[in-house]
């Protein structure tokens, strides 16, 4: 599996898109830091972008890489290699290269700006951590979708739809539900509903670190009591891990049963 990962990664490091992606973050972070004014402001702005863009790019990249590496995959399938290793290797190759782009693109400017000697280091770390999680989650979902759909157009469409659902539609339904049942205590519902969407969960984790919880009144207090503690944090990260594991398990299931 690690050999496949290595070659997928190696293959991707020659892809222009990965560099564009990394360079984009580099430019963005640098301009937010030096032109936008300050670490905490930059972290908040970056959060807005990372929460939308990381899942989108991971989804697109995952689908694209799967379809573009069909030849490679077929070559590998005839080799004495376990099937699940082939697909996990490729998936991890994509996820890792995206993660490294993000890590370098966002990390370098912040390190140069002096994040290590700043009190914002934890906020920044959680932002990066969440970004990495989202890369792994959404590229896994993308791989799963691509594996299930031989038709590229259909696969792309479905993947974008899934992204759109988690990035926008879910929150719309969430808000609708909240305002429809606003007469009932909804704190638990709010926590529960955010666990089912990795983007929401990530956003709330960062917001809690940035102490926006103070803005959230009673709801904020309940959420803070749940997710703000070490246990809650571990729980949230556990759910994020589950969000990686679930599509990964799907990849294995589909991969083992698929004809090539």
């Amino acid at each position: 599996m690690f050999k496949i990962l290595k070659y997928s990664f190696y293959d991707l490091t020659r892809s222009r898109w990965l560099y564009i992606y990394g360079a984009f973050y580099l430019l963005l972070s640098a301009s937010l830091l030096w032109l936008g004014g300050g670490l905490s402001k930059a972290i908040i702005s970056l959060m807005n972008i990372i929460l939308v863009l990381v899942p989108l790019i991971a989804t697109m990249f995952g689908v694209m890489y799967y379809y573009n590496s069909r030849e490679f995959t077929e070559l590998l399938l005839a080799q004495p290699i376990r099937r699940s290793h082939i697909f996990f290797g490729q998936y991890l190759g994509v996820a890792c290269s995206l993660a490294i782009s993000l890590l370098l693109g966002v990390g370098l400017p912040f390190v140069l700006y002096g994040i290590f000697s700043s009190s914002e280091i934890w906020n920044f770390s959680i932002l990066l951590l969440v970004g990495l999680f989202l890369s792994f989650i959404f590229s896994a979902i993308a791989f799963f979708i691509a594996l299930r759909n031989e038709n590229r157009i259909k696969g792309f469409g479905l993947a974008i739809l899934v992204w759109l659902f988690f990035a926008v539609i879910y929150d719309g339904l969430f808000l609708l539900a909240l305002s429809m049942f606003s007469d009932y205590p909804l704190e638990r519902f709010a926590i529960g509903a955010s666990l089912f969407n990795p983007i929401d969960l990530s956003r709330i984790l960062i917001l809690l670190k940035l102490d926006i919880s103070a803005l959230m009144g009673y709801t904020g207090a309940v959420i803070q009591n749940f997710m703000g503690t070490v246990l809650g944090m571990a729980c949230s990260l556990g759910v994020l891990l589950l969000w990686v594991a679930l599509p990964a398990w799907g990849i294995k299931r589909v991969a083992v049963r698929k004809d090539f």
Partner: protein, 254 residues
């Protein structure tokens, strides 16, 4: 070596293999023939575990291949269409396969045989079809495995390379290997094959030696014999017109 029992395979509603049973027990070159869509490639992919049987079993050295992967160490496979990661160079691809598969391949003589030295540093995306097929051949044959499965080995090759390939296959056969070849080139079959498997409409229509085939259909050449088979098929399956089409396709290759 390879035993296939009652193999069924369908893709969606389309049934490609309808109960194929075959045994490969003695070394030599077996040509798998049949019109397009007769299930040749599906049969090969089933043996390799790339397509999963709907029904029936495939045994390799007595072991059911279901869920297995290590048995593929014993098989060298030449895929029909040579498609590789475009960003890699030939050298890197060779090294990668060696790394993934392990063992001690010997690519040097093959590279010399197909005169690939000048292309080693080129990206696979920039190679011509013929050159790619040569790379494909090197990749498939650099290991010295007991089973060799070649899907359309001559496609895109120039006459010199084709000649060298034939020579190579003869040598491999001498070593006592099991060699399965699908092809549309009848002269190649006549020249090389010890045995013919003819697939039609998902069934094994004929299996036996070349001479046997010619005699059975009272034909002087392989081409004629196949034309006869397809004519028969046309009578039998005239309702769908498949036989005629298939005959044209097969004969075009001849």
């Amino acid at each position: 070596m390879i035993t296939i029992e009652n193999l069924h395979k369908s893709f969606g509603k389309q049934e490609v293999l309808k109960g194929v049973s075959l045994k490969f027990q003695s070394p030599g070159i077996t040509a798998i023939l049949g019109p397009n869509g007769s299930g040749k490639t599906t049969l090969i992919k089933s043996i390799l575990g790339m397509a999963l049987p709907g029904q029936g079993t495939i045994r390799f050295q007595g072991q059911d291949i279901k869920g297995g992967w290590a048995y593929r160490r014993q098989i060298d496979y030449l895929p029909q269409i040579a498609r590789f990661p475009e960003n890699l160079t030939v050298q890197e691809l060779l090294r990668m396969i060696q790394d993934l598969r392990g063992g001690q391949p010997d690519a040097e003589p093959l590279i010399r045989l197909f005169a690939l030295q000048p292309h080693l540093g080129n990206r696979l995306g920039n190679l011509s079809g013929g050159t790619r097929q040569k790379v494909n051949l090197v990749l498939a044959m650099m290991y010295d495995s007991p089973v060799l499965i070649l899907d359309e080995p001559t496609s895109g090759l120039d006459p010199v390379a084709t000649q060298r390939l034939k020579e190579l296959l003869r040598q491999e056969k001498e070593k006592g290997k099991y060699i399965l070849v699908t092809t549309h080139i009848m002269s190649f079959v006549e020249e090389m094959a010890d045995e013919v498997v003819f697939l039609l409409e998902g069934h094994v229509h004929f299996r036996g030696g070349l001479q046997e085939l010619k005699e059975k259909y009272g034909a002087s050449s392989l081409e004629r014999a196949i034309a006869r088979i397809l004519e028969e098929g046309e009578l039998g399956f005239s309702s769908n017109g498949h036989g005629e089409k298939a005959a044209q396709l097969v004969l075009r290759g001849a």
